[in-house]
């Protein structure tokens, strides 16, 4: 249940950015969450709504996009999507794969009103 702590981090970043552009209102915050980030989107959404109630961010919402787990295999050079948590390269069977996406927990952007 660390979604509450993550929601707090998001709100802090949104407030900082809103202050920089003198935003009058925040409409939407775009978030990117990887399949392996260990964050439950519904839970994050719930925590965000709960914390912003009664603050200047009330009425804003999260727009969450999920990303697949993708690995790169240095042995054969192929990037592949991880299915069923198999991190072994499906092309050559290489086991020394690097995860190139799937653990993201990013703020992509913010939709403000001036």
């Amino acid at each position: 249940m660390h979604e509450l702590s993550i929601a707090e981090n998001i709100i802090e970043i949104v407030k900082q950015n809103a202050a920089v552009v003198n935003a009058s209102r925040v409409n939407c915050v775009k978030i990117r969450i990887g399949e392996l980030a260990g964050v439950v989107p519904d839970s994050l959404d719930f925590c965000y709504s709960a914390i912003i109630a009664g603050t200047e961010l009330e009425g804003s919402r999260l727009e969450i996009e999920k990303t697949d787990i993708v690995i790169h295999c240095p042995a054969c050079g192929v990037d592949s999507k991880v299915e069923d948590l198999f991190f072994i390269c499906p092309e050559c069977g290489g086991s020394d794969t690097k995860m190139i996406s799937g653990d993201e927990l990013w703020i992509v952007g913010i939709d403000f009103d001036e």
């Binding site: 978030i31 653990d103 703020i107």
Partner: protein
């Protein structure tokens, strides 16, 4: 107004402090392990056995993370090892700032190995870098062989897997080979030890590995 693109990590603030912790630990030549598992897997017992095995061979310090109580710190303090208790008061994981504050209370100049025992939780601690050199995940046989598949992030981020409570295998349905297989498909580079804190099996191998690979 168009969407302002930010493209930054939500937990950047935590990661920045973790980076400072990492620099400090490296400068002081301290190898730090972030010990993670579900509650009741035997992290503290494993720690006690490891300390007993390594005492006199290297200098250890421990940071204990718990939601409540300093019971674990009391257990470690009995072994005459420097220990700092972090009580998170409800939070389900340690964050880099808490570790940063705890590091001030330890004389790092004398320490070779720092073990940070995280809050028992296989989900949340995976997201928070503390500045450690590696994560060690403990999975006990009583938890079953499917835990790596249910909590993949933790097993993907760890460098070492310790399968604990091996003495109970005859009484359980847990298949240790399947547990290992499940962990290795998520993280093929995972190094695996099998231990029992009741019989002491495997503790020497794990401790020997620490001695050989740290410092």
């Amino acid at each position: 107004m168009p969407i302002v693109r930010i493209e930054r990590k939500v937990l950047q603030k935590n990661d920045d402090i973790a980076a400072l912790n990492r620099v400090l630990l490296r400068k002081k030549r301290v190898f730090a392990i972030n010990l993670v598992s579900s509650p009741g897997s035997g992290k503290t017992s494993l720690l006690e056995k490891t300390i007993a095995e390594l005492k006199g061979k290297m200098n250890l310090a421990v940071i204990e993370g718990d939601v409540q109580t300093d019971l674990d710190a009391q257990r470690i303090a009995r072994l005459n090892v420097p220990v700092v208790q972090i009580v998170t008061n409800g939070a389900c994981h340690l964050e880099a700032k808490l570790v940063q504050d705890a590091l001030v209370k330890i004389d790092l100049a004398d320490i070779d190995l720092l073990i940070i025992e995280n809050v028992g939780n296989l989900v949340c601690p995976a997201a928070y870098d503390l500045g450690e050199a590696m994560k060690v995940v403990v999975a006990s046989t009583t938890e079953g062989d499917d835990k790596p598949l249910k909590y993949p992030a933790m097993f993907r981020n760890a460098s070492v897997l310790i399968i604990n409570k091996m003495d109970l295998v005859p009484y359980l349905n847990c298949r240790v080979d399947l547990l290992k297989e499940n962990a290795m498909r998520i993280n093929p580079g995972l190094l695996v030890f099998e231990t029992s804190c009741s019989t002491g099996s495997g503790i020497r191998e794990w401790s020997q590995w620490l001695l050989t690979n740290i410092g």
